[in-house]
């Protein structure tokens, strides 16, 4: 057993965990944050994608104890003041979810992709960038549309913040 302290969605959590506990199980079972899903459990499908110290990672392949001292963001931490994150909003507007199981992982991956992409994202870039996320409903068409629309909005927001800061 180990005592770990992890910041999740801006809130510090201290818990006793078994050393073998996976980060995804820590989030779901110890903290009750069940928005992060376990799909394949073999590092393939990406449903468990979260941000660990700002990077999209598959939380089914990380030991919770190794994330001691880290900052985690999950799908539950995206909305601000009752307003959805632009990526969530565009998934809704573009009907980018069918059963919805892959959606949290898709959204966490897509935000990482947009934040880290050099230059403007195009359809190919989005499809390639999301290769670590599988949609069992094969609903990729609208997912790609949503990500492209959200990327535009996120870039605009970044520009306007930069302009305000002079």
């Amino acid at each position: 057993m180990a005592r770990i302290s992890i910041e999740v969605n801006g809130k510090q959590h201290e818990r006793e965990v078994e050393d073998r506990t996976l980060l995804v199980h820590f989030l779901r079972e110890h903290l009750g944050l069940t928005g992060t899903h376990v799909g394949c459990d073999t590092s393939q499908c990406g449903a468990c994608t979260i941000h660990l110290d700002g990077l999209a990672v598959k939380s089914c392949t990380v030991l919770a104890v190794s994330a001691d001292g880290a900052k985690v963001k999950t799908i539950e931490g995206l909305a601000r003041d009752g307003r959805l994150h632009p990526m969530q909003e565009h998934f809704r507007l573009h009907h980018a979810l069918q059963c919805g199981f892959c959606t949290p992982g898709m959204i966490m991956s897509a935000i990482d992709l947009v934040q880290r992409s050099e230059g403007e994202l195009d359809e190919h870039g989005v499809r390639h960038g999301l290769e670590g996320n599988i949609c069992r409903c094969t609903g990729y068409h609208n997912i790609v549309k949503a990500v492209l629309a959200a990327a535009e909005e996120m870039d605009r927001a970044k520009l306007s913040i930069a302009a305000q800061q002079g």
Partner: protein, 272 residues
């Protein structure tokens, strides 16, 4: 996953002494091979020693004749490194072709090379470029390091700390990925070093893991052009046959990939 005890040493000395004190201990870097193996109970180490907090395991530096990459450097860091892109662009390209974005954020070069998976990408770069493998106690030539399927010359408690890659005149990589697993069905890394030596390494295809195909090296040493590979054949004996491809298919594929690599100097070409 069976019970295990996790350790996070801050120095190489601490890591080594943990490994020597504990029975059934393994080193972990990104853990993207080890954790899946532990989850499926193919591996059940009593102790896991995480090497990522050790400062000596990190860092990328470029000298006039070589690029040094710390063993705990994630694939995404190598792929995005201006230094690596400038000095050995194909190495950055290869790193950016491993797994997927999330995997590349965590998986490391040291883990990949130490594990020596027969379909991993990095061993082919290490072998073809004739890199030097640095450990906590010695330096090894790539030719002496890879000894077989998942086997290397690393001692059980020895820690890979980094890799020194000679900057070649030109190098390139081409692989055909399995659509489901994303591992290479075959991959060919070729390089012409500054002294004119041509070295080629094949991953994904050999029964004993990564290897240097003598006939391709001889053909490209005589004439470093894509046409030099016309009519070249690889002996399927010693190549893998599995549900994805026969040994004969892989033998043919290796020559095709070598040609693709020759046609795209500096690039990591991914066929799917």
């Amino acid at each position: 996953m069976y019970q295990t005890t996790y350790h996070r040493p801050a120095t190489l000395a601490e890591a080594r002494s943990l490994a020597s004190e504990m029975s059934e201990a393994v080193y972990m870097s990104g853990g993207h091979t080890l954790i899946p193996a532990m989850k499926s109970r193919l591996a059940a180490p009593e102790h896991v020693i995480d090497l990522r907090r050790i400062p000596e395991m990190h860092g990328i530096s470029v000298a006039p004749h070589n690029v040094y990459i710390g063993a705990a450097t994630p694939h995404a860091t190598v792929a995005a490194s201006r230094e690596v892109r400038g000095a050995i662009p194909v190495l950055a390209g290869l790193a950016g072709s491993i797994g997927d974005r999330q995997v590349r954020h965590v998986g490391t070069i040291g883990g990949s090379v130490a594990n020596n998976d027969p379909a991993a990408d990095y061993p082919s770069a290490v072998l073809a470029l004739g890199a030097t493998v640095h450990t906590d106690r010695r330096e090894m030539a790539a030719d002496d390091f890879f000894t077989g399927l998942y086997e290397t010359a690393r001692e059980p408690d020895e820690i890979l700390t980094g890799f020194s890659f000679p900057i070649p005149q030109v190098a390139a990589y081409a692989k055909l990925r399995n659509a489901a697993s994303r591992y290479a069905i075959a991959g060919v890394f070729l390089a012409r070093l500054t002294d004119g030596t041509v070295r080629v390494a094949v991953t994904g295809a050999g029964n004993d893991g990564v290897f240097r195909p003598a006939v391709i090296e001889a053909a490209l040493s005589a004439d470093f052009s894509p046409e030099a590979l016309d009519g070249i054949e690889i002996d399927p004996a010693g190549l893998m046959s599995d549900i994805h491809a026969t040994a004969e298919y892989r033998a043919h594929l290796v020559v095709v990939l070598a040609k693709r690599a020759m046609q795209n100097p500096g690039a990591a070409v991914v066929l799917r």
